[in-house]
């Protein structure tokens, strides 16, 4: 290991240890809610993701240690859920619904406009790390189709023009939806393996 990467690794260890120390009391409360501590797996991982922007390997290790599970069990469980990102993503996660009620009410146009404005496709992140984009299944807001979520906040009755405004606001830093945490620079995609639809 080069000297620079060694320093970076040490820094990372220190930062994560501080985070862990800050979150541990919360984790105690979370674990105490359940008859079996393993039930706290998703809540703990979700908290780490909120803080770090993605589920880091350190978070997997910490969760395994807290719940006395093997690392592979935590890793496998995390991989099951689409809202858990095992690799870094953008500060704004745009999730546009592609299911039926949205689809027959113009979702294709919305998705096309997002892709065009951001220059990325489904499951990708812009080079500046600002946007990630995913086409998702039904968000249970079909009366206001087409709809999407931005960092889990709903936007309804979408039009291509609304997408233009949203992208401009995010770029200008005037979007009212808070940005996600971002502790690492994201790559082009957060997929672990090729494939998926």
């Amino acid at each position: 290991m080069s000297e620079t990467s060694l320093v970076a690794a040490q820094e990372r260890t220190t930062t994560f240890a501080a985070l862990r120390k800050r979150l541990d009391p919360e984790f105690d409360t979370l674990i105490a809610q359940y008859e079996d501590s393993r039930s706290a797996l998703l809540p703990i991982i979700t908290r780490f993701q909120e803080e770090e922007g993605y589920v880091s390997s350190e978070a997997i290790d910490a969760c395994a240690e807290l719940l006395q599970l093997s690392r592979s069990v935590v890793e496998s469980t995390v991989s099951f859920y689409t809202l858990l990102f095992r690799k870094p993503v953008g500060r704004y996660m745009l999730q546009v619904c592609r299911n039926l009620s949205c689809s027959i009410n113009g979702a294709d146009e919305i998705m096309e406009r997002v892709r065009e404005r951001l220059g990325i496709s489904h499951l990708e992140t812009t080079e500046d790390g600002l946007f990630s984009y995913e086409e998702v299944e039904c968000l249970a807001a079909c009366d206001r189709a087409p709809c999407m979520q931005v960092n889990l906040e709903f936007l309804f009755d979408l039009t291509p023009e609304r997408i233009d405004t949203l992208v401009e606001q995010i770029r200008a830093g005037t979007c009212t939806v808070p940005a996600r945490a971002q502790t690492q620079v994201p790559e082009r995609t957060w997929r672990l393996a090729p494939g998926g639809h």
Binding site: L100, S101, C142, A145, Q149
Partner: protein, 418 residues
């Protein structure tokens, strides 16, 4: 006269029911107090059974009967409220969660008391971040008021309610997938039997009920089981929130007596089709349900009638299609959904969903072959009944029904006129 009959949705949009004082001013938490202080658990269960209430999450199983399967063996019992609403076209629990969180809480607590449980859970899909926050605030208010926690109403009865958020997976709406997820596992459905009533959360007797099901209980106790049982068809009684979307003028949630016709729901509630459009079909109960057509519109919207017509009311999600609908595309969207959401445990579901999706994609891309139509017909059938849960069986109905009615749309793509 309007066909609407707001019970669970009463007051939404008029009163801020997230405020515990305003909810209580409408009679809120009175049934919880009455049940805890004057009724036995068995009395609550008896009322639910007598009301004829059937599960509002999709399967329509009689709620009282589901509760009655719990063994009397002294083990702890759990009540789990399913708020993983993700059946495409369904958006009623989303509304109840955000607009009437106290009604949801009271329903869960009454359900828990009805089965003699001291710890209840609500599993909320990860996307409902705002709903979860609203419920968390409401739960805090309810705790301050002494409705949750230790020694409720000085009766010595302890009852805790834990909010648990999912993290993105449709299959966690399946009750055993939900229980695995709640236990911190992959949300893969379990082999049944044993059913959750015998071996549920942490291996203990467990009931999983939908949000709307549980939220009905305060009203059943307040107005009486007979009141509920007398609304609508004898074997499918009560009020139901129907989520109507698609090609209608006023999409939304409409609470009506079961037994209202689909025509009334579409025309009187949702304002009918848009100007100059003609009706082409309706998916009456979410993505898993077969499409119904013009000749079915005067059927009574209830569990049994729609099942007899070859479809289902499921969670009460009607998606309406007008004559601009591309049914090949619609079928593709539905199949892609099931392929995406298959947990992968069972080979027929995992493989066939993807296979059918690829055939439909090829047809849409103008690369279809005429024998694809026969393949589509048989592929769906071949995966039915071979899987641990109902997801695999849900792939076929919509595709089969639109292929039957609109085969010419599929052919047009294949022979190059699509």
């Amino acid at each position: 006269m309007s066909v609407l009959m707001p019970v669970l949705t009463a007051g939404i949009g008029e009163i801020n029911l997230r405020d515990i004082d305003l909810y209580r001013a409408q009679g809120g938490y009175r049934q919880l107090e009455r049940a805890l202080t004057t009724l036995k658990s068995a009395d609550v269960q008896e009322a639910v059974t007598r009301s004829g209430l059937r599960g509002r999450g999709g399967a329509g199983f009689p709620t009282g009967k589901k509760w009655s399967f719990l063994p009397n063996d002294g083990r702890p019992r759990y009540m789990v409220c399913n708020c993983d609403e993700a059946e495409p076209g369904t958006f009623k629990d989303h509304l109840l969660l955000e607009e009437t969180p106290h009604q949801v809480i009271e329903g869960i607590l009454l359900g828990a008391y009805g089965i003699g449980s001291h710890h209840a859970f609500i599993y909320i899909r990860g996307e409902f971040q705002r709903g979860a926050e609203i419920l968390r605030e409401a739960l805090e208010q309810a705790r301050q008021a002494g409705f949750v926690g230790k020694n409720l109403f000085n009766t010595g009865y302890d009852l805790e309610l834990t909010i648990h958020r999912g993290a993105g997976a449709y299959i966690c709406g399946e009750e055993t997938g939900l229980l695995n997820s709640l236990e911190g596992r992959r949300g893969e459905p379990r082999l049944k039997p044993p059913f959750p009533a015998l071996h549920g959360l942490y291996g203990m007797p467990t009931v999983v009920n939908n949000v709307e099901t549980l939220a009905s209980i305060p009203h059943i106790l307040e107005r009486g089981a007979d009141w509920f049982a007398k609304i609508g068809p004898v074997h499918s009684p009560g009020v139901k929130i129907v989520s109507i979307s698609g090609h209608v003028r006023r999409p939304g949630n409409y609470e009506v007596p079961l037994g209202t016709t689909m025509r009334q729901l579409i025309d009187e509630c949702a304002g009918g089709l848009r100007e100059g459009r003609r009706f082409a079909g309706v998916q009456p109960g979410g993505a898993s349900s077969a499409c119904l057509f013009e000749e079915h519109l005067d059927l009574s919207y209830d569990f049994d009638t729609i099942a007899k017509a070859g479809s289902m009311i499921g969670s009460g999600a009607m998606v309406v299609f007008d004559d601009t609908t591309d049914f090949v595309k619609a079928a593709y969207v539905i199949i892609r959904f099931f392929a995406h959401e298959s947990c992968g445990q069972c080979t027929p579901c995992r493989e066939s969903g993807n296979w059918i999706m690829r055939i439909l994609r090829r047809i849409l891309d103008g690369q279809g072959r005429l024998d694809d139509i026969a393949t589509l017909r048989s592929a769906g059938r071949q995966m039915t009944g071979l899987n641990l849960c109902a997801l695999g069986d849900s792939v076929e109905p919509f595709l089969a029904s639109v292929l039957e009615r609109y085969e010419e749309q599929f052919r047009a793509y294949i022979i190059g006129e699509g």
